[in-house]
């Protein structure tokens, strides 16, 4: 991730995010994602994972960055922290996906064509995990992500306090990460 001016900008956004600035955090995650995508696509081959799953890998890595951001010391540069966490999670995710793979060559070509639109496609992994969440976590996650509502609107709709929605959302994200992990061990 080398470039220091870019890293400094990311660090500024992340510091604001830690303090609760959702917009700065949105900017940070949006800026990091294209790099994750490029890395995931490049590495799929190496681990024998289908390229069609690259975006699933990106989402899994984003979730890991999110849940582990408390391990970044804001006094230190963000680059080494970010690249270590990304490398570890990327490899973890790709290794698992590489295991159960034997794709005929025709499918590979289909996949390569489909890959162009991978961005726009709804990803299966996270939706499958989402199905396993209980209410109100499932409703909250779906309302905020797919329907794009804010925490306050979600709270009004579900007749919950904003604080309760925030706590439920945070728990839901932890459960999602645990679901990814448990699928890992099943495949081993």
């Amino acid at each position: 991730m080398g470039h220091s001016a870019r890293e400094e900008e990311w660090a500024v956004w992340m510091r604001a995010a830690i303090g609760g600035d959702a917009q700065a955090y949105h900017r940070f995650l949006s800026a990091v994602t294209p790099h994750l995508r490029a890395m995931a696509c490049r590495r799929c081959d190496q681990f024998g994972a289908p390229v069609s799953e690259a975006e699933d890998v990106v989402q899994e890595v984003l979730l890991a960055i999110h849940l582990k951001r408390g391990t970044w010391d804001p006094a230190r540069p963000i680059g080494p922290w970010l690249s270590t966490i990304v490398r570890n999670k990327l490899i973890d995710s790709l290794r698992r996906r590489g295991r159960h793979m034997s794709v005929p060559i025709d499918d590979v070509i289909d996949v390569l064509e489909a890959e162009e639109h991978a961005d726009a496609l709804d990803r299966l992994d996270v939706d499958r995990m989402l199905e396993q969440l209980k209410d109100p976590q499932k409703t909250i996650v779906r309302s905020i992500s797919v329907e794009g509502t804010s925490v306050r609107e979600t709270a009004d709709r579900l007749k919950m306090t904003e604080g309760a929605v925030r706590v439920a959302l945070h728990r839901a994200l932890k459960v999602l990460a645990a679901l990814y992990r448990s699928e890992t061990s099943e495949n081993r």
Binding site: A22, A64, K68, G70, T71, R76, P80, T84, I85, S150
Partner: protein, 211 residues
Amino acid sequence: MKTDDLIHLLAQDAPVRSRIGKALTMAVIAGILISGGLFFAMIGFRADIDTAMETVRFLFKFVVTIALAVTACAVVFRIGRPGASLRLWGWMLLAAPVLLLGAVVAEMAVMPADSWSARMIGHNARFCLTLIPLLSIGPLACFLFALRQGAPERPGVAGAVAGLAASGIAATFYASNCTDDSPLFVLLWYPIAIAIVTGIGYVLGRRLLRW
């Protein structure tokens, strides 16, 4: 769910509620309190501690156990943080064994060879092997709980280091009760007890510290 939707979702959970540094500081304090509480409730200091305090052998046990506790705790504080260098403190873990080996050489230089094996076997091996693991349970649980917020590259190794730190704390308490002060005794028995706890930490770390 599209990736943009996921980013929107994560952004709604922006503020950080738990920092690993704070969690680990609490874990050290709680671990020492639990281990110490159990120690004083169960056995306490040895009866002749006042005279023992005047002997180099007794005091040097604490140099070794505290060196282990401090260096292993320092690694525990770093091992859950991606990108933090472990090299310096990894090497510092050798401080306790090097100090102990130095003491053993000194002991063998001043004591007649026919007394070595009696000093090494001692009288309290059973207690050493049971009490150090027992006193380690509290601190190990605290460290593992705090490290769950971390992102260790190798979860098993992180668990093992947590076990090392926990047994360093436990061994420090135990050493103030044990009447075997020869470095030869410490060299034979303490590492066995510490290895048990470290092994348990490794197994638990592999299960509990994955992320």
